[in-house]
Amino acid sequence: MDTSNPAVFVNAELLRLYVGRRVRAVIQVLRSDGGVVMGKSTDENQIVVKGSPPAPLSKFVEVVGIADSEKSIIVEVWSNFGDSFDTHTYNQLCQLANGEFKHLFL
């Protein structure tokens, strides 16, 4: 059992609070360009994710990695989340998981 390295659920707004920490986010892929992917976060802002994405990349991707700035993540793990995904609900989950119910996650 190991809970020493959790990944925080973030959207663009929450990402700012966790710079330097391990985070996870679902993004909609806007552009993929040689090691850098521009993504739309679940709260409709842009996040830059860096690393080598798998090919092919689906429309929605979950990235887990280290937030190296307020707007970017260095990705360790990429997961294709398919072409349809409920971003609104995921966004609300991000807020709950960082708010009142944080102790269930971190």
């Binding site: 809970t3 659920f9 679902v26 709950l96 269930l104 996650f105 971190l106």
Partner: protein, 283 residues
């Protein structure tokens, strides 16, 4: 009288005795018995973080308590790592973003082998299994491992965990967040309801006519529920009435009234002194 003895006879007939807790938080909860044994519980959605904080009690290696609720079988959604197989069993780790836990799947039948063949490292899966402790380390003995195909399931699972947490919490406090509807006043009131303003629903609470979820629990019910929690049962000297007063937020006088009534019913007994009490129904 508040409690009909038949209710408790029915519960003790459950296999394995079981610990008597307020209703488990499954969506298809029946309004009947307010206590279920571990065996009739179903899968509890949890995060690995919650599992890591689960407390254990008793001698068996599978008595876990999460959020004050007895938990045996859980459902977890996360990513598979370090899958390593043999003919007899396959081990793997699940990482759900809140932590990592070791899992083991025994290859009992063809179905097990076929299901596990599909599972690869890096895949998101839902694992349904039994919580166990081995050499002090918590593990999952999985009986079902299914790849996630629609990723809204991931979002759903974590919301399910939050929902389950809220339900356990409200049941522990004896009051649900949605209500404060008074119980039907045509029911014969218990002698004790007058001063406190709480409405008590005597045997109908257990007959299924008025569900626990919709009614306000009486002090008596809360006291007996508290004393039947595994943590209370695990304490040899029982629970001090001051602790009951603090935890349940009733005055000591009110608690003593309930204690006297429950003692008369034979549901609780005093232990080392007249301040400590234990439930007569033990898990």
């Amino acid at each position: 009288m508040m409690f009909s003895s038949s209710q408790f006879d029915a519960v003790s007939a459950f296999p394995g005795g079981g610990s008597m807790l307020s209703q488990q938080s499954q969506p298809t909860d029946s309004p009947f018995s307010s206590a279920k044994s571990r065996e009739t519980q179903g899968l509890v959605p949890v995060t690995v973080k919650q599992i890591s904080e689960a407390s254990q009690y008793g001698d068996e290696k599978s008595n876990f308590v999460i959020n004050g609720v007895d938990v045996a079988n859980v459902t977890v959604v996360g990513m598979v790592f370090d899958k390593a197989g043999r003919n007899t069993d396959i081990g793997f780790t699940i990482d759900d973003g809140t932590g990592r836990i070791g899992c083991r799947r025994w290859m009992n039948e063809n179905f097990d082998t076929i299901e596990m063949e599909e599972i690869l490292d890096g895949m998101y899966v839902r694992v349904n299994g039994h919580l166990k402790s081995f050499k002090g380390v918590k593990q999952l003995v999985a009986f079902s491992v299914r790849p996630v195909t629609n990723f809204d399931e991931v979002t759903f699972h974590f919301i399910d965990c939050i929902h389950n947490y809220l339900q356990s919490k409200s049941q522990l406090q004896g009051v649900t967040p949605t209500q404060m509807q008074p119980v039907d006043t045509s029911l014969s009131p218990s002698v004790k309801s007058a001063s406190s303003g709480y409405q008590t629903a005597p045997s109908s609470q257990f007959s299924g006519q008025s569900s626990n979820i919709d009614g306000v629990k009486s002090c008596d019910q809360l006291v007996i529920d508290y004393l039947q929690q595994p943590a209370s049962i695990g304490q040899e000297k029982g629970v001090h009435r001051d602790e009951l007063s603090r935890q349940l937020k009733f005055s000591v006088e009110k608690i003593m009234e309930s204690i006297r009534s429950l003692e008369e019913e034979g549901l609780i007994y005093s232990t080392i002194d007249e301040f400590h009490y234990k439930s007569t129904q033990c898990g």
